[in-house]
Symmetry: C2
Subunit: 418 residues, 2 copies
C-alpha cells in the first residue's frame, strides 16, 4: 500500500467510528475519559519506556535541551495529562444543545442543534501530551480524531494512542475513533490534507513553517494562527502604574508564548513621562528595548529599532517601542503590523476604549488588561485546543464548542412550501 | 500589469475600503442600500443597454433559451433587485452585538462582539442579479466584496457595479468596497484564490465543476455546497396523506433547485400500501420513477433504478425510490448517498423522530415537513447568500450573521495574569 492509501484507509476508519462517537451519551463519553486517565497511570512504565526511545534518538540527533524537555513524558507530564482528562470529563457537553427555536409563519418550528463536526485532524510538533489533550477534547465534542505528531515523538505518540484505543475497545467503542498516523514522512501530511470527504477540520499547531505548509496544501478547512504579534497602546489618559503592570506581565511572565507582548505603542503626550519609567522597569527585568527615533529622543540608551522589528514575534525578552501621534495612528500601526491575535489599550478615555474595542480587528481586543489573558481557560471555555486567527468559525481560543457545529432542525406537522 | 497583479491591486483596494465599511453606522449602511435601490431605477436604461450586449453575444454564441432567460435584466428582474435592497436595509444589523459577557475569577469581564469578516469574494455564474443581492448583504454585514460573475454577463455586471459604486462615492464611502473583476479569464479566479491576506471568505455559486475548481484551488476558506441530494424517508408509522403532500411538494414544486427531493425511502411495512398510492400521484404529475427491485415487486410499471440513481441530483421530474428494512437502513442509505444538504422523515413515532433529528448529518434535518423549506427566508434569516454544506462556520442557509464573525472583548481594570 502506498502512503496515500494507508492514510486514506485510516481516515475512512476514523469517519466510520466518528458516527458511533457522535451518538454516545454524555455519561458514556465521560466514563471513557476517566478510564483513559486511569489507563495512563496504569501504563506509565510502558509509556515512559517508549518515550525513552524518542529521547535517546533525540539526544543522538543533537536536539536542544529545550526540545528534549518538551519531548519528555515525566511523571509530572503524565500527571498533567491525567488532570486534563479529568477536567475535560467535568466540562459540560456541548452536543445536542438546541437553541433559537422559533415558529415560522408557515407553521414549521425551526431551531439549531449543536452537533459534532465529524473527524478532526491535528498536526503538531514535539510535545506528545498534545496527543492526549487533543483526543480528549475531540472525543468529548463527539468527534473522531486523526493525530499527526512530530517524527521525533513517534514512539511516545503511538504508545499513548495504544493506551487510549484499548480503553475505547474495552468500552465497546470502535478504537478507530482515535488514530495516530504511524508514518512520519511529510508525504503523510500531504495525503491527509486531500481527504475532504473524510476529514472535516484540520488544526495545525507548531512553527510558522508547518502551519503555512498545511494551509497551502489543504483542501480541508484549516483553523490556525501563524503567530502572535501582540501590541499594547498606552493612551494619553492611561494610568501609568496600570500600564507598567500590564506591559511587564505581557512581556516577561512567559515571553515564549503567542499571547506575550511584542510591541509597545505610546501616545506622544504620555511618552515624555511614561517612557523613562517603563524603560527602567524593562531594563531591570533584562528586556532589550528596540525603540523608534522619538523613543530614543526621550530615552537615549534604547537600541534603535530596525524596520523589521515592527511586526516581529520575538518570543524572547525583546520589546519594540514606538511613539505614536494618537489613537488613530496606533490603530493604523496595528492594522499594518498586527497578526489578528491580541491587542490591548491602556486608557481612561471612555470613547477611546469603545473605539479600540470596536475597530481593532483581532481575535481578542482588551481594555486595561494583559494580552496574556487570551486563553481558553482564562476566558472560561475550559481547556482549549488552540487559538484561531482565521476569522471563519472560530476567532480566538477554541474550546469544546468550537469543535462542534450547528445544524438546522425542523419540527413540522405536514407543512409544504407554497 | 499581469492578471495576478490586477486582481491583487483590486483586492488590496477592497481590503482598505472594508475597514471604512466596518465602522459605518447602521443608519449609514441602510441609507446607502436605499440610495442604491433608487440608482438602479434611475439607471435602468443604461443597465438594460449593457445587458443587451451580453444577450446579443449570448444569442450569437447559441446559449439556450433558459440561459438567456437567466441572463436577462428585464424590468421584473430590476424590480426584484430593488426590492432585495430594500429588504436588506430593513434587516437588523448584526454588527456590534455583544453576547456572553461574564466576569471571570481574575476580575476581567469577557464577552464576544459580532464584527464583519472583512472582504468576501463571490464567484458565480450567469445571473447578474447576484451582483446586487450579494453586494447588499456583504455591505450590510460591514464587509467589502469582490464579485466575479460569469464572462457571459460581464457587461451587465460592470454596469451594475458602476451604479453601486457611484452611490458609494456620493455617500463618501470608498467605492472600492464593491468591486467587479473586469477580467473574464479563469486565471483571474486562480489569482484571486491565492489572496488570503486580503480576502477572508470565498463563496462560489454555480455548477459542481466551478465549485470543485474553487475548492481545490483556494487558500482562502470556502463556504459551498456541491449539490443537494435530498431524501424523504416514509416510516412505518408515517401518515400516508402527509407523506404524499411532502413528497409531491419536494419533487414537483420546483424540481431544479438544490432543496428539491431526489430519493424516496420507504419502510418495508409501509411499502405495500403506500407505494401504489404515491406512484399513481407521481405518474399523474409526469414524474419518472426509478425503483429498486422491492419497489418494482409492488409497482411493476416502475423503471428499474440503476446503481448510479442513488445519490443522483436529477434536478428534474425524476425520483429514485427504494424500500428499506427500517430506520437504521434508511439512515445508512443517507450516510452513503446523501450530500449533507436536507433530509426529512415522515413519521408518527416519537423515538424515531428524535433519533432522525439527532443522528442524521445534514445542514437541515426535518420531521414531517417538505425539504423545500431549507431556505434562509423560510427559516427566518432574511435574505440568504447561499446554502453551506461545509460544516465549519455556517451549516445551512447563510444570512447576514453568517457574513460576520465574533471576536473576544475584554474589559479590565488593570488585571494581569498570575
Amino acid at each position: 500500500m502506498t502512503i496515500a492509501e494507508t492514510i486514506k484507509n485510516l481516515a475512512i476508519g476514523a469517519k466510520r467510528a466518528a458516527r458511533q462517537v457522535a451518538s454516545l451519551s454524555t455519561t458514556s463519553k465521560n466514563r471513557v475519559l476517566l478510564k483513559m486517565a486511569e489507563a495512563l497511570v496504569a501504563n506509565k512504565a510502558m509509556i515512559q519506556a517508549e518515550n525513552e526511545k524518542d529521547l535517546a534518538a533525540g539526544r543522538a540527533k543533537g536536539l536542544s535541551a529545550a526540545m528534549l524537555d518538551r519531548l519528555a513524558l515525566t511523571d509530572k507530564t503524565i500527571d498533567s495529562m491525567v488532570t486534563g482528562l479529568t477536567e475535560v470529563a467535568a466540562l459540560p457537553d456541548p452536543v445536542g444543545e438546541i437553541s433559537e427555536m422559533v415558529q415560522r409563519p408557515s407553521g414549521i418550528t425551526v431551531g439549531r442543534m449543536r452537533v459534532p463536526l465529524g473527524v478532526i485532524a491535528m498536526i503538531y510538533e514535539s510535545r506528545p501530551n498534545v496527543t492526549v489533550d487533543a483526543a480528549a477534547l475531540c472525543l468529548k465534542a463527539g468527534n473522531g480524531v486523526v493525530l499527526r505528531g512530530g517524527s521525533e515523538a513517534i514512539h511516545s505518540n503511538l504508545a499513548l494512542a495504544k493506551v487510549l484505543q484499548e480503553v475505547l475497545s474495552a468500552e465497546g467503542i470502535n478504537p478507530a475513533a482515535v488514530q495516530v498516523i504511524p508514518v512520519t514522512d511529510r508525504e503523510a501530511i500531504t495525503a491527509m490534507l486531500q481527504l475532504e470527504e473524510q476529514i472535516d477540520l484540520v488544526i495545525p499547531r507548531g512553527g510558522e513553517g508547518l502551519i503555512r505548509f498545511v494551509s497551502e496544501n489543504s483542501r480541508i478547512p484549516v483553523l490556525k494562527h501563524y503567530k502572535g504579534v501582540c501590541h499594547v497602546f498606552v493612551d494619553e489618559s492611561g494610568d501609568f502604574d496600570m500600564a507598567v503592570h500590564i506591559i511587564m506581565n505581557g512581556k516577561t511572565q512567559r515571553p515564549g508564548v503567542c499571547n506575550a507582548l511584542e510591541t509597545l505603542l505610546v501616545h506622544q503626550n504620555a511618552a515624555p513621562a511614561f517612557l523613562p519609567l517603563i524603560c527602567e522597569k524593562l531594563a531591570a527585568a533584562k528586556v532589550e528595548i528596540r525603540g523608534c527615533e522619538r523613543t530614543r529622543a526621550i530615552v537615549p540608551t534604547v537600541t534603535p529599532a530596525l524596520p523589521t522589528d515592527w511586526g516581529m514575534e520575538f518570543l524572547d525578552l525583546i520589546l519594540a517601542v514606538k511613539v505614536v501621534d494618537n489613537l488613530d495612528a496606533a490603530m493604523d500601526h496595528i492594522v499594518q503590523y498586527g497578526s489578528l491575535h491580541t491587542e490591548a489599550i491602556v486608557t481612561n478615555n471612555y470613547a477611546h476604549a469603545q473605539r479600540f474595542l470596536r475597530e481593532v480587528d483581532a481575535s481578542a481586543v482588551m481594555v486595561n488588561a494583559s494580552t496574556r489573558f487570551n486563553d481558553g481557560g482564562q476566558f472560561g471555555l475550559g481547556a482549549e485546543i488552540g487559538i484561531s486567527t482565521t476569522k471563519l468559525h472560530a476567532y480566538g481560543p477554541m474550546g469544546l464548542k468550537e469543535l462542534t457545529t450547528r445544524k438546522f432542525i425542523v419540527y413540522g406537522s405536514g407543512q409544504v412550501r407554497s
